[in-house]
């Protein structure tokens, strides 16, 4: 299964990317997402599922089924837009609360055997070079913590530029 997570308006996304596979899971902003409240319920109350029932509680389980995950996000302060980051914050059930040590650093143990490929496309009309550096490091850190098999990071000046160069399936 392919997963696309984007922060575009739904109509805009459909217009720019009209030809997607039927089994592609699209996660978009319906305006109802709640932010993570730091309760750890997805680890110690309903392991694997977020306790906030707003339609975004199954992100971890969706990632567990993914072969490829594509993210389209505005680049904000060297990271994701609030909606995309909200999805990440609500997806920690994808990993376990327990730790492992990798290259001297502690990271979370995986919950699932799955490893997906991650493609991150940032857009913005004035992305600073420092923002690009930080964003690249952030995707690398996310990939390490979420057991991603391989990743790419790209930057575009506008959504139109992105849609001309990126093919989604």
């Amino acid at each position: 299964m392919n997963v696309i997570i984007h922060d575009l308006e739904t109509e805009q996304f459909q217009m720019l990317f009209p030809h997607l596979n039927q089994d592609t899971q699209i996660i978009y902003d319906n305006g109802k997402i709640k932010h993570c409240i730091g309760c750890f319920g997805c680890w110690i109350k309903t392991p694997g599922t977020c306790v906030i029932k707003d339609g975004y509680e199954h992100i971890g389980a969706i990632l567990a089924k993914a072969n490829d995950v594509t993210i389209i996000s505005q680049c904000l302060y060297g990271g994701y837009s609030p909606f995309i980051k909200n999805i990440f914050d609500r997806s920690i059930s994808y990993v376990l609360p327990f730790f492992k040590t990798v290259k001297g650093e502690t990271h979370h143990q995986p919950r699932y055997p799955n490893q997906y490929r991650l493609f991150v496309y940032f857009y913005g009309d004035n992305i600073l070079s420092q923002e690009k550096l930080t964003a690249q490091k952030l995707v690398e850190a996310n990939s390490n913590n979420f057991n991603v098999s391989q990743y790419t990071v790209s930057f575009y000046n506008s959504i139109n530029d992105l849609s001309k160069e990126v093919t989604l399936s």
Binding site: A61, Y77, A141
Partner: protein
Amino acid sequence: MKISIINGSPKSGKSTSALLIDYLIPMLLGNEIHIHHLNMETGDHCQLSAMTDSDVLLFVFPLYVDALPSHLLRLLMALEKQNFQKKKPIVYCIVNNGFYEGKQNDLAIEQIKIWCHRTHLTWGQAIGIGAGEMLPYIASVPLGHGPNKNLGHALTLLTQNIKAGKGGEDLFISPHYPKWLWKMNASMFFWYPRAKANGLKRKALYQQADYTTL
């Protein structure tokens, strides 16, 4: 000096960020301190105005998935739109994470620095704290002693710089406590008891949710 401390924890009850703020208050005595609880005040324009009318902005928050939490991003965007016409506060931050290494907070700190650049504010200094979930459990140990040795030292340096209106080198600290023991305690005395309190056996913590059955 007017200091706005923004508690960026989304928790409504006690949090590590709230504990860190409790430590800071006596160290900043003699200043006008305003504490803003982000979990209650996001989007409150009166609070945004109070934050911009400060000499110091001090963000205290948890690391979420290697970076700033989404609710803090929304606040920073709202603050950026305020333009800071009355005052240009110096910005400091304290980030804590659930790993052992304070260094793993560096990307969130970089994001706050970029926000400073975007809002034309002066960057001050940051502390990146590891093993943040452990701090409430050792709150009875005085700062500067035992496992709180490194934290006490870092908070002293930061508050000295805040009071002097100066910047400083970012400080990354872990507890003065063996890593292997912290790692074992995290499972034995943190996650397992919490799961048990919810009626779950240890094995249940490892269960896999199946999206196809939803």
